[in-house]
Amino acid sequence: MNSSGERPVVDVAFQGGGVISAAEKVDRAKVLKRLRFGDNAFRHLTRAAAVAVLVILSGIIFSLVYGSLPAMQKFGISFLFDESWNPVTEKFGAIAPIYGTVLTSLIAMLIAVPIGLFIALFLTELCPMWLRRPIGIAVELLAGIPSIIYGIWGLFVFAPFLQQYVQPFLISVFGNVPVLSNLFAGPPYGIGILTAGLILAIMVLPFITSISRDVFDAVPPMLKESAYGLGCTTWEVARYVVLPFTRVGVIGGVMLALGRALGETMAVTFVIGNAHRISGSILAPGTTISATIANEFTEAVGDIYTSSLILLGLILFVITFIVLAFARLMLMRLNARLGK
């Protein structure tokens, strides 16, 4: 299809000097003019809509920068490294929420990436054909459940369960192991960094699974069959043929999931505990950027407080933008290789 621009609407009969009366000529010219106008109008309309997508993005960036100017001027770069968060003295710093955001996402990825890849492996190599679609749909339903549902479930079901069974176990097992004892120190609150990380893991699992399955499916069957023909086991085919071939795609999918995890708000807000401090233990309550904004924005009094929260939002947006952009570049590279 020629895409590089408009082709003018012309009247072939008119040009070819067909046998038409003068009145008809005028009529045809009129219709032609209308069509030409409609054609141009529609083209410009769609183009404007495409540009509007860019306008939305620049609007987001501009409004966040504009809203966070007072905080930027007051705290400068030190905002990034300051742990204090005190609405009374109006002293704010972002390091505790950034720490919580990064740590919860890291826990989520550590758990969800291997499991997601294994599920994708199951779906592409082991699963009988008739089961593939139902399981695939089930995994995607998991992705469709709104995050607030994960939040309420995490708060009322998952956190008490962790508090009663898992966390005391972790504390007693790792209590005497150096380094790890700090990681699992303190009373079992139920809510905290670890709980938030686990909930996030469940939430991003479907994203990783569905993208890995798609890229695994894209491996040319010839490659896999050759490896099987050499006598490779299923695992060896997955490990030495499928994974290397799809590496960029898998990395892209993982980064996409990471972007979701970093920005996830409601599920985390329920179970993080909203404590503005950095503690070495992952059992302790903490906070993330998005949870801080969700919890405090409507109650924030004063320009600096509000502005600091918007600045947090800007930081979150910049972080996720970089991660997501990287993810898209990776996926684009895979598609380029597959010749799509």
Binding site: A41, F42, R43, P146, F156, T265, I293
Partner: protein, 288 residues
């Protein structure tokens, strides 16, 4: 897998087989693990949600703590804001998707828009809330249902752009050429032929967008805020199901928490119904 009888006894072969059995076992276990979460979450949700489900939920307003009541105002609020958001976001999304697929499939602008759109698709929704807060709430000086609807519309746009483009790209060029050969101008070719061929997929996109926004909480928290009472005024704060769930679940009151579960059940059923319908309508659609 082909097994060679002659190699069956060698230790290397046994080791490889063992490794294979272990890793394949892990693949089964991982799948069981993933599916059991779905079962667990839905199970608890049904259990807790159904016990509170009654006609009252759909006919009465949200109660003050300690009293009985329903979820009528948040349900209507959610429906109205979702409807308005789709009304605003869908045309924009379809037009932009049309440009990407029909007019500028290979030009520079399109690749930039496509890239940005993909990022907006997974951008944190709370940031959208902050954006609309700055754009509308701060300018107008008060929270409003309109702001909530616009925030949701911003989330609808990238979803619709993406599916529209994908679906139009799937329309065979021969159809377009056939339309052009009988003298249809390009705009009419798109509207009368391409849209018609891609209709099911485009509707799927809209359904997915509705499913996406009907559970969104973060962008509503500080745009539409919440409202304990019935309101017809979209210029005033409007309550919505997700925000009410958020508020009620975190409250110390037992009846509020029960209502939160019921609300959660209603949202989940709606979202699941939408996404299953979308999937059947769209068939085997490639996901991002």
């Amino acid at each position: 897998m082909a097994t060679l009888a002659s190699g069956a006894s060698s230790p290397l072969y046994a080791k490889r087989r063992r490794k294979n059995v272990v890793t394949m076992g892990m693949a089964y276990a991982a799948t069981g693990f993933g599916l059991s979460w779905l079962a667990l979450i839905l199970g608890v949700l049904f259990w807790e949600g159904f016990s509170g489900l009654s006609l009252r939920v759909f006919t009465e307003m949200t109660p003050p703590p300690g009293a009985s009541g329903g979820l009528l105002n948040p349900i209507i609020g959610s429906l109205v804001m979702t409807f308005l958001a789709v009304l605003m976001g869908t045309p924009l999304g379809i037009l932009a998707g049309t440009y990407l697929a029909e007019y500028g499939r290979y030009d520079k602008l399109s690749s930039v828009v496509r890239f940005i759109n993909d990022i907006l698709l997974s951008a944190p929704s709370i940031v959208v809330g902050l954006f609309i807060y700055e754009l509308m709430v701060a300018q107008m000086g008060h929270f409003s249902g309109w702001a909530g609807a616009v925030a949701l519309a911003v989330i609808v746009v990238p979803v619709v752009v993406r599916t529209t483009e994908d679906m139009l790209t799937l329309v065979p060029d021969t159809l377009r050429e056939a339309a052009a050969s009988v003298g249809l101008p390009r705009s009419l070719m798109i509207q009368k032929v391409a849209y018609r061929a891609a209709r099911a997929g485009m509707i799927t996109g809209v359904l997915l967008a509705i499913a996406r926004i009907s559970g969104e909480t973060a962008p509503l928290l500080f745009t539409a805020l919440n409202n304990q009472f019935w309101t017809n005024d979209m210029n005033a704060p409007v309550s919505s199901l997700p925000v009410v769930i958020f508020q009620f679940a975190l409250s110390p009151y037992k009846d509020w928490q029960e209502l939160a579960w019921t609300g959660a059940l209603i949202i989940t059923m709606a979202v699941l119904a939408l996404s299953i319908t979308a999937r059947f309508l769209g068939g085997e659609r490639k996901k991002s």
